[in-house]
Structure formats: structure tokens, C-alpha cells
């Protein structure tokens, strides 16, 4: 074995096997933090050992076996007097696994634990990328443009919170299942949207982060293949991600949907989205359920993805889908999006009424979204002075540099 190749090979193995190794250890130890530390010990050991001896036939099993021993060592050091741990340690020793074949359910438990509601959203996202996505702390830090120490801190704090709340490494109770699964879907969705349109920073998109979210989404859909919303979320992400190449122009400036070169959309990815949504819809039908909110959003994204030109978009259908979405999960962002669709289907006047009502309610205060939509509508109605003021207001509120530039240019260009 070429020694120089070991670190790269180990990294690759960890990405492929990491979640299953941590999950299997967490099942034995009942403690995700300990499982992760022990796995890291084992990876460090593998790096040293494999450089001398070569890579074993079944590297995943090797790392798991060593990690189990390290977990026991860690217990001995810290919890020597506690019978409970000693008992668990004996159990772990007995369970010498010659065959490396952990249940996928363990990974599902891991996902539920990482997205546990006692954790903050930031912590859920960091921990999910770390233990389910098998990314290193510095990789996560790069995806979020924050220092590695910040990510490390979030993960340490998350583990302490899980330990303090005595969160068991178990799937949720049946009556908790639906809300908890919704939480997991939401974490993946947030991860994706942050990659799709970064809320802050100099770059408009972070395709790598979106790709990780999509990967974890696909893993989840594989783990719960009978849940329509899991497939629908993957479909939504596929449709949205299909536009990445067309969404950024020269110099990193955002190119908005109507202006994108549709020949640069990833047709294969759109096709994957279509297949996923069809699967989600078929499952819903079979289960006698209506489309959920991810399925509705995916259906909207599909309308855009399958319109050959911007002016061929089926806006009346999109309005209907937003209305359904608004009934299912009402909120100002959905309402604002509906207003945009109404402006395209019916005209700016009708849409402005919706937006004004939102503004009167004080919705989305502090966000650039509402003034930017209002500005567009006013501009289309020829109310230039008001439109310019709204664009400036929106620019002042935009936290993403690229988005701000576009808005400033619009204000100046009127």
C-alpha cells in the first residue's frame, strides 16, 4: 500500500461509512457524543496503523471494532464507578461483530437524534452534517463561512445539551414520530436553502452546501421510503438545484429566474426531480393523503423547471399551488410568493393589494423581500418615484452582498 494514499482513502471511507459507524456505536453506547469521539479515536489509529500494514479487507468493521474498544476506555477513564456504564461496556465487548452489517435504522436514529428539538437549529444543522453527512468540522465551517472553532463549539454544545436532556438514542415514540420527522425534513430544507440563496456573505450561492443537503435528503428518503414528504423534499431540492449553473452570472452576480438561460438548466436533474415528485404523489394517493407542503413547493418548482421560456410559465397554476400551500402552512413568505405569482397571472395591481396588506400587518419586517417585491410592482405600474424608494429600502436590508448590488442597481436604473 502506498503510504501517501492512506489519508485520502481514509477520508473517502469515512464519508461512505462514517454515519453507519457512528450509528452502530451510538446504539451500543446510547451516547452520540461518545460514539463520535470513539470513532474519531479509531480513525486516528487507522491512519497510523494502515500506513504500516496496509488497508484491511473490511475497513468499516476494523474502525468499528477499534472504536468500541476506545469507547470502553473512555468510560473507564470517566465513569469507572458507575455500574451502568460497566454493564454497557460488557455488552459492547460481547458484541464482537465479525460481519459488518449495521441496520440502516441506526442511521435513522442518528438523524433523529441530531435533529432533536432540544437543540437549536444551528446545532441541529451542524450536528447533522457532522454525524450523518460525515463531514469534518473544517469542511462544515467552510460551507457556512464561519471559523472551524465556531462549528466545533456548536457541536460540543449540542452534545452537552443532548446529554443534559438525557436524549435516548431511540426512534421517537409513535405519537411523536410525525412532528419529529417534520423536524428532520426542516433541518435538511434549511441546509439546502442556505446553500441555494445564502442569507449573508459575498457569494450568492453555496452549491456544495446544497449538494450535501441533497445527499442527506436522499439518504433520509432511502431510510423512510414510504414517507411521501421525504421524496417530495428531494424533488424540491432537485428542481431547485437544476438551476445552479444558470443562477450566477459573470462576477458572481445573481441571475433571476426570468432571465436565466434555460438551456443551462440540468435536464437530468429536472428529470430526477420529476420522478421523485411522481413517486411522492403516488405514495400520497396510496395512503389517501393530500399533497404536503414540500410536494406543493416541488410542484411549483416543477412548473418553472418545465417551462421552456419564462413567458411560457403556467402562472395561473402556480397561483393555485400557492393558495393550497397557504392553506396548509400559512405565512407571510408564502403570501408574498403568491402575490408575485398573481402579478404574473393577473397583473401588478391585484398583487400590490396583497403586498400592501402584508406590509400593513407588519409582516416580514426587517427583511428585504417585501420591499423588493413591492418595488417591482410599483415599477411595473409606472410609479417610478415610489419604486426607487422601495428598491433603496430593500437594498439597505439585504444581507447578501450580491443581492444588495442587484437592488441598488435597480434603484439607480429607474
Amino acid at each position: 500500500m502506498d503510504q501517501a494514499a492512506v489519508p485520502g482513502r481514509l477520508d473517502a471511507l469515512w464519508r461512505i461509512e462514517g454515519a453507519r459507524i457512528v450509528a452502530a456505536l451510538a446504539r451500543v453506547t446510547g451516547d452520540v457524543g461518545l460514539a463520535e469521539d470513539a470513532a474519531q479515536d479509531a480513525v486516528a489509529e487507522a491512519l497510523a496503523a494502515w500506513s504500516r500494514t496496509g488497508i484491511p479487507r473490511n475497513p468499516g468493521a476494523w474502525i468499528t471494532a477499534v472504536a468500541k474498544r476506545r469507547a470502553i476506555d473512555r468510560w473507564r477513564r470517566t465513569e469507572l464507578l458507575q455500574d451502568r456504564y460497566q454493564e454497557l461496556a460488557r455488552g459492547a465487548q460481547d458484541e464482537a461483530a465479525p460481519e459488518w452489517n449495521p441496520l440502516p435504522d441506526d442511521v435513522l436514529r442518528l438523524l433523529f437524534t441530531a435533529c432533536h428539538p432540544v437543540l437549536s437549529t444551528e446545532a441541529q444543522v451542524a450536528l447533522t452534517l457532522r454525524v450523518v453527512g460525515s463531514l469534518r468540522t473544517d469542511e462544515i465551517a467552510r460551507l457556512f463561512l464561519v471559523p472551524a472553532a465556531t462549528v466545533q463549539q456548536r457541536i460540543v454544545r449540542a452534545r452537552k445539551t443532548l446529554a443534559a436532556a438525557r436524549v435516548p438514542f431511540e426512534p421517537p415514540e409513535p405519537n411523536e414520530w410525525t412532528p419529529r420527522l417534520r423536524g428532520v425534513l426542516h433541518v435538511i430544507y434549511l441546509m439546502f436553502t442556505e446553500g441555494y440563496a445564502a442569507t449573508s456573505g459575498e457569494s450568492w450561492t453555496r452549491p456544495d452546501l446544497a449538494a450535501e443537503a441533497l445527499r442527506i435528503g436522499r439518504i433520509l428518503a432511502g431510510l423512510v421510503p414510504r414517507v411521501p414528504e421525504a421524496h417530495a423534499l428531494v424533488a424540491l431540492m432537485e428542481f431547485s438545484a437544476s438551476r445552479f449553473a444558470a443562477r450566477t452570472g459573470p462576477g458572481g452576480a445573481p441571475v433571476l429566474l426570468a432571465d436565466q438561460d434555460r438551456t443551462r438548466w440540468d435536464r437530468a436533474q429536472i428529470e430526477r426531480g420529476r420522478e421523485r415528485l411522481a413517486r411522492a404523489d403516488a405514495l400520497s394517493k396510496e395512503l389517501g393523503r393530500a399533497r404536503g407542503s414540500y410536494a406543493l413547493q416541488a410542484a411549483i418548482a416543477q412548473c418553472h423547471a418545465t417551462a421552456v421560456r419564462a413567458d411560457a410559465t403556467d402562472w395561473p397554476r402556480i397561483v393555485l399551488l400557492y393558495e393550497a400551500l397557504g392553506r396548509l402552512s400559512p405565512g407571510p413568505v408564502v403570501e408574498l410568493n403568491r402575490a408575485v405569482a398573481v402579478s404574473m397571472a393577473t397583473g401588478p395591481e391585484a398583487a400590490l393589494a396583497v403586498v400592501n396588506r402584508l406590509a400593513d400587518e407588519g409582516a416580514l419586517r426587517g427583511s428585504h423581500l417585501l420591499p423588493s417585491v413591492r418595488a417591482e410592482l410599483l415599477a411595473r405600474l409606472g410609479r417610478t418615484g415610489e419604486a426607487r424608494a422601495e428598491f433603496s429600502a430593500a437594498a439597505a436590508l439585504a444581507r447578501n452582498l450580491r443581492e444588495r448590488e442587484v437592488l441598488e442597481r435597480r434603484a439607480a436604473g429607474l
Partner: protein, 147 residues
């Protein structure tokens, strides 16, 4: 990053595989595909039909107009039998997945990175990219719902 695994096998290897029960091959390939699907890395893949079925053609561009023939397969030492497309984090990860394919002696997987938009960053003066820039300047519709 995306990679394509291109499956190639010698004629001998293809013949040898005919001694293995077809169901066994389907099961092994199925398990391999499933492992990549469940890991969220497999984007697609297809097998190519056996050439003995007369299913292939070659279009040769050395002639003008291009010459369409049944194909000079006799000269080909390694047949292209199928492909996978995977999305992974590194070259090593692609190699690791490729190594797990249930293939035998005489078979090879060629692992090739699929080009992405960033590979064409040097072509900023391309007409399509310029067209986009123009659109952006003329842009009249900032659409919060559809950014």
C-alpha cells in the same frame, strides 16, 4: 463533483460472465446500486445491450457526411457495457465506490470526472454568457418567490 464510471470488459470476460446465473448478477448489481442510492450518491446509470443483438451502430466522422456502419467491433478489445453517474466529495471517494462494483477479472471501470459550469469559467465572453449579462442589466423583475 460528479463522476462517470465507464464499464469496460474484454470479450472473454463477457463470455465468462455467461456461466454465472443471470439472477446472481442482477442481485449483485442491484445491491451495489442500492448501496449507492441509499448513500445519496448515485445520480443515474444504465447498462448497454449485448452487441450480438445487432443493437449498435457506429457513426464515423472521418467521412463527410459521417459514415454510419454496424460498427468495427471486431477491433475493439474492451467493450463499453454500461455506466454509472455518481456525485461525490472527492476523487478518492469516487475510487472507493468504483472499487466496490461487483465485477470480475477482465472487467475495468474507467472513472472520469464530469465537467461542470466552473470548467467553462474562462469562456466568460461566450455569447450565451454575454447574453445573460445583458439580460441582467435590463432585468426588470426581481421576483422574491422565484429567485
Amino acid at each position: 463533483m460528479k463522476y462517470m464510471f465507464i464499464m469496460r470488459a474484454t470479450e472473454e470476460a463477457v463470455q465468462a460472465s455467461k456461466d454465472i446465473p443471470f439472477e446472481q448478477i442482477i442481485n449483485q448489481m442491484g445491491a451495489y446500486n442500492e448501496s449507492m442510492i441509499n448513500a445519496g450518491v448515485m445520480l443515474g446509470g444504465e447498462g448497454l445491450a449485448d452487441l450480438s443483438e445487432g443493437s449498435g451502430l457506429v457513426v464515423d466522422f472521418s467521412e463527410d457526411p459521417p459514415l454510419v456502419t454496424d460498427g468495427p467491433y471486431g477491433e475493439t478489445h474492451e467493450l463499453f457495457n454500461g455506466f454509472w453517474i455518481v456525485q461525490v466529495g472527492s476523487r478518492e471517494e469516487a475510487a472507493e465506490w468504483a472499487s466496490r462494483a461487483p465485477l470480475g477479472p477482465g472487467s475495468k471501470l474507467e472513472v472520469r470526472r464530469v465537467t461542470e459550469a466552473s470548467d467553462f469559467a474562462d469562456f466568460a465572453d461566450n455569447e450565451y454568457i454575454q447574453k445573460e449579462e445583458l439580460w441582467r442589466q435590463e432585468e426588470e423583475n426581481l421576483n422574491a418567490g422565484n429567485k
